[in-house]
Amino acid sequence: MPSRIIARAAGAALLLFIVILGCPTQAKAREITDMVGRQVTIPDTIVKVYAASPPETMLVYAIDPTLLAGRNRPISKKCRRYVHPYMATIPEVGGYFGQGKTPNLEKLIEIRPDVVIGRKSNARNDKLEAFLAEFKIPLTYIVIDELRQYPEAFLVAGKILGRPERAKVLSEYTAKTLSRVVTKTSAMPEAEKVRVYYAEGPDGLSTENSTSIHAELINLAGGHNVHRHGKAGRYGNEKITLEKVMTYQPEVIFVDQPGFYKRIFSAPGWKTLPAVKNKRVYLTPKCPYNWFDRPPSFMRVLGLKWVADTLYPGLFDWDLREETREFFSIFLQQEITTGEAEQLLGASK
């Protein structure tokens, strides 16, 4: 009798022991290496992610929007229909971007992300690092200044987020797009390239230097960025004079702001430029996020095709509407019609 009780008790104890063991008291952790070579320990399963500025947030968005726990910016009203509905349900935390903006740190703690994705190029990184270390939130860096870094960035982010298959698809698509365009454009002699000016600001007189990451698509797509002076700052937006633009004689102009696009055809001085005379002025598409720049994001994969096709119509054996539909389907998980694709592209005309 007692021996049975003991046996039962022992069994119960054993069962309890097994149950306790089987219930992990804390999530298992794994170690990953981020893109700047730091070894970071992160939870096994990632459920909530916060990214420090729009380009990284959008990288996560492409992989899986439902992992995001906070936004950096409000959702654009104009293109709401192309944005994943999940984005409207998460709080706006802000981020480290654009001339000294900082996130709301208390909100950041409130959402308690499993991991934070940041970019090393930020002047305030030390602050973010120290802050996250204090609250034991792991911080991983990815590097996505240039489009050619995206294939790797997708793979690393996929590993961090636990979505390697999805990341592989995006990475391969990006690499394929780059090689398709660049193999054709890199062989062009510089003298034969189309002369391009990128007009930013309300007066069209802010621009990007040919070495700036903000005008990277022009170079990749085989354009000759006419503004080659000075050294590109990280932030860009160099002011130049209208007379300078006239000496450049651009054959194509990409315009950032709709307000200026409306004026350029009747603006004094601009009228005399070959690009304006030949109606080769294009407004950069911005739905659901900017295709060209600001923020420089994965949308530039589609943007590259658009720029290449705009500079050299007929050089590439693709139908841009179909490419747009495919991109929206793969990257943004939005099925759009050919008509909608045309509208998105047509907004630039």
Partner: protein
């Protein structure tokens, strides 16, 4: 340096005011003519001469296509900018000189009543909501007038030394609009709207085209002319309120008129060229060094010197580097050291 200045100044002051003003006018005309030949687009002097004479005297110009292009550069880009620079320089200097006389204080600038923060706020808000340059300019002007209106309202609430109260009202109103500007900046989209606001506030003339100049030149010129006509009253105001009243002058009305005029012209300058600081403060001092404190001569002299100064500064802004340097930066960098030197002699000019 000081010795030469000491030798030159009396001779200048000894000259008749009329000939001195005529001299400044000639210098301004020369500066503007030379500036017409300066720019990033290479045009030879000969071509400039031919295009201009073709327009005025219908002589043979260059060939038709080139003629059209050069006319575009000269008359649609350079000329409006030059005119805008001259107008803004004159407007800021005259309103600065008028305020300095009115407040009996050499350290007063046109921004004393909050017109600049007000106009900046208006412009920033305009860049956020308006989609045309004209809209931005209208809002900028409105903001400047509102800020001064608030300063006057605040000054009315308190008894005591009216000049003191006006300055206090200006400080409060200016601070308020500076904070409002910060709110606008904070809500602006950092990728495109914020840089646009920042550049606008740095000051520059890249937006000055013929339409803008045609729309703003008449009110600015009329405003300047009205202030010049009131120079005798200003002389009386600069004796102080008590003295002026004993001479039978309606101090309040005169002051209000002058504030209104100075506000309109300086708000218009912000609407055209953004924030261009240190002109309205520094130029009247140079004027006083040349012609003394009599406003009847000082105001037109300041207007001409201010115009010359800003035309030259804008040449530097356009030509010095490949990128355009915001005008407001240069006027501060030049103005501050100069002002520090002048400050020593500032009392002399008043006597």
């Amino acid at each position: 340096m000081k010795r030469t200045a000491a030798r030159i100044l009396p001779t200048l002051r000894g000259n008749s005011p009329a000939s001195l003003l005529a001299g400044l006018g000639i210098v301004l005309a020369a500066c503007m003519a030379i500036s017409m030949t300066m720019g990033n687009y290479p045009i030879s002097y000969e071509e400039v001469g031919r295009v201009i004479s073709h327009h005025i005297f219908s002589t043979d110009g260059v060939d038709a296509a080139r003629q059209q292009l050069l006319s575009g550069v000269l008359f649609e880009i350079r000329a409006p900018r030059l005119i805008a620079a001259a107008l803004i320089g004159a407007a800021l200097s005259v309103s600065g000189a008028a305020y300095q006389a009115m407040f009996v204080n050499p350290l007063v600038s046109p921004g004393i009543l909050g017109v600049l923060p007000g106009a900046s706020f208006g412009a920033a808000l305009g860049l956020l909501v308006a989609d045309s340059t004209l809209g931005v300019q209208v809002m900028s002007f409105t903001g400047g007038v509102l800020a001064v209106g608030l300063a006057l309202l605040l000054a009315r609430f308190y008894d005591g030394d009216k000049v003191m109260m006006l300055i206090l009202g200006g400080i409060i109103s200016g601070s308020l609009f500076t904070s409002l500007l910060s709110i606008v900046k904070y809500t602006a989209d950092p990728t495109d709207q914020l840089p646009a606001i920042v550049y606008w506030l740095m000051g520059g003339l890249s937006l000055a085209d013929m339409n803008t100049v045609a729309a703003t030149a008449p009110p600015v010129l009329i405003g300047i002319a009205c202030i010049l006509l009131m120079s005798r009253h200003l002389n009386i105001l600069s004796l102080g309120d008590e003295e002026a009243k004993s001479l039978g002058v309606n101090v309040r009305l005169i002051r209000l008129c002058l504030i209104f005029l100075a506000t309109v012209v300086s708000a218009l300058t912000v609407a055209v060229g953004g924030l261009i600081g240190w002109v309205g403060l520094v130029i009247p001092h140079i004027g006083r060094m040349l012609v003394g404190p009599n406003n009847a001569i000082l105001l037109p002299a300041s207007a001409l010197i201010g115009a010359i100064y800003l035309v030259v500064v804008d040449d530097v802004a356009r030509m010095l580097l490949d990128v355009e340097i915001p005008l407001g930066i240069i006027t501060s960098l030049v103005g501050i050291p100069f002002f520090s030197l002048v400050l020593k002699n500032t009392r002399k000019g008043w006597n």
